[in-house]
């Protein structure tokens, strides 16, 4: 499922969905057992059952909802004869909600259903190793104490000054090279035979012929890559540039590009070119600001079907104080 792949980022969505499924399951159980009540009423009714008559704000505070929520539900329950309301003697603002005798009797009959739900939910909650209830309690504590919010801020502050490290090829990272490239290839194009070959065995297709592969890491985690392919003596191709989609905005692309160009320089290359597609706007912008200029025609023997943009590195064109306000128009014209 897509949301599962998003990990913690989609936690809110998933929790809400599970919450609604639970209400639905409870309602189904009530209906099957012949009880006519809604699972959403549980906190209020149960509070009144175990604690006795209580005011709107008292209940709201106890069950962690706003007072209008309780107020509105109370109006509904009153209309249906579950509760009564009388004004507090010592404080005329306050109302005292109380279960009717009939409601009390109905609730007293719910034991078996509640017990069944509790046991089934407990079993489901503790399946798969951990215990949902315990984990949830810890999570709630972090939210209530503000620790989660503080942690997000702290992490973000740390990450703003985070150092993306550029590291040379390592055999054990070959799967990352494949994974990162497959991601954007599938997203924008299809994987061509040449891709499959290069990604499947980067050692044989990139390193051994005299090329290089760079990896961008954030705190040890590989989040981007690019390859410098050796075409001919002194002629290199920049290719397979990929940054994981959840890790854009760290500047990994720029660092990879700089790293590749530096590598090209170290090898005393004469020509550095690349093939790309006008569909990859942000990447083209990056190449332009890195010193690549557009070339009208494909190189003889162009590799890829998808390629419709050809660029060549011209060092003096590099816009080093990074051109933040680079005119978008330029890109558009190029893209045509």
């Amino acid at each position: 499922m897509f949301l599962h792949a998003q990990g913690e980022l989609a936690l809110g969505s998933r929790l809400k969905a599970v919450s609604e499924s639970l209400y639905a399951a409870a309602n189904a159980a009530y209906r099957e057992a012949g009880h006519d009540l809604d699972a959403h009423w549980f906190p209020v009714l149960r509070y009144l059952q175990v604690r006795g008559p209580a005011s709107v704000t008292e209940i709201a505070a106890a069950i962690g909802q706003t007072h209008p929520a309780v107020s509105q539900l109370a109006a509904k329950l009153r209309a249906q004869g579950w509760i009564t309301r009388r004004t507090d003697r010592s404080d005329a603002r306050r109302g005292v909600l109380e279960l009717t005798a009939d409601a009390e009797r109905k609730l007293d009959r719910l034991g078996p259903v509640w017990c069944a739900i509790r046991r089934a939910a407990a079993a489901a909650s503790s399946r798969g190793g951990g215990n949902l209830l315990d984990a949830l309690a810890a999570f709630e504590a972090d939210i209530a104490s503000g620790r989660l919010a503080a942690d997000i801020r702290a992490q973000h502050a740390r990450l703003k000054g985070a150092t993306i490290e550029i590291a040379p090829y390592r055999r054990e990272w070959a799967p990352h090279f494949e994974r990162l490239n497959v991601e954007w290839l599938q997203r924008w194009f299809t994987i061509e035979d040449l891709d499959r070959a290069v990604l499947g065995d980067p050692q044989a297709h990139v390193i051994d012929p005299g090329g290089a592969i760079l990896f961008a890491t954030l705190d040890g985690e590989v989040i981007g890559t690019c390859a410098l392919l050796k075409e001919a003596p002194g002629v290199y191709e920049l290719s397979k540039m990929a940054v994981e989609s959840g890790f854009r905005g760290f500047g990994a692309g720029r660092k990879l590009l700089d790293g590749a160009i530096a590598e090209f320089g170290r090898r005393r290359g004469r020509t550095l070119f690349l093939e790309s597609s006008k569909r990859l706007g942000p990447a083209l912008q990056l190449y332009e600001s890195g010193g690549f200029v557009h070339h009208p025609a494909p190189r003889p023997g162009s590799h890829y079907q998808r390629a419709d943009v050809y660029m060549v590195y011209e060092p003096e064109k590099a816009a080093r104080p990074r051109a933040k306000a680079a005119p978008r128009k330029h890109l558009r014209v190029v893209g045509r």
Copy 2:
């Protein structure tokens, strides 16, 4: 917190609350980082980012929401320039939603915020032993497969034929005797000195003087209790009858009453009386159907302040084929 004490029964409420807190935390993080987007948009926007253009129903299925939800959100996002919609060439019913170049750029800048949220949430999720994400995944699987619903049904079927066992006093259950009685005393009255004494040391105040205490158990779990106090030779008082509020409807009260009367019989008692309160409607109904009849005046030396109902056991009055349709009016008249 009240909801925590309800265990699995309040899980739905709590999950929803956590879900909303998470959305709020994410939104705060977005705002602080200067991004103008809503956490609720994440599933749709992220899907379009990693998977590329997609139709409404495709997205809805992937993120586990209904198609109107996606449709409505899409309309809003379209109005704000995040996505465009064009009609599918091969199927005129279907629309193709696609991120605008601007949106693509905005999303590409979110890496650090996402990473911060992910890390903080991961830390909170795995604090406290278990891991919320794993536990949630297992729980979701049980819901999706229908196992939870089936389990509830199965548990409920089992519990309908469940046997409440009545067991005699055991020293290690003394705390249950106290807990169960404190629950209803606090709910309906206040704890009087005599209560404190009896509940604090049932051995000394009930058993040793020649009385008895019974416990009702469900699958080994103590869920109810009652006491038979010896007042004088042949004279007993039924007292401290309590069934846990979440376990009403199992018939534990009746079994406890029957058990106490049987114990009274085994001891060849002559008189069995009880003191109660007209506020405890269902309990009085139980006593009546068990063979107790109302007595107009308090016994000389009545024990409790709260007592305003006095009953005496008259075996021939026991409505043994349990009087389901016992006239409520009777209770009312008695209660007056």
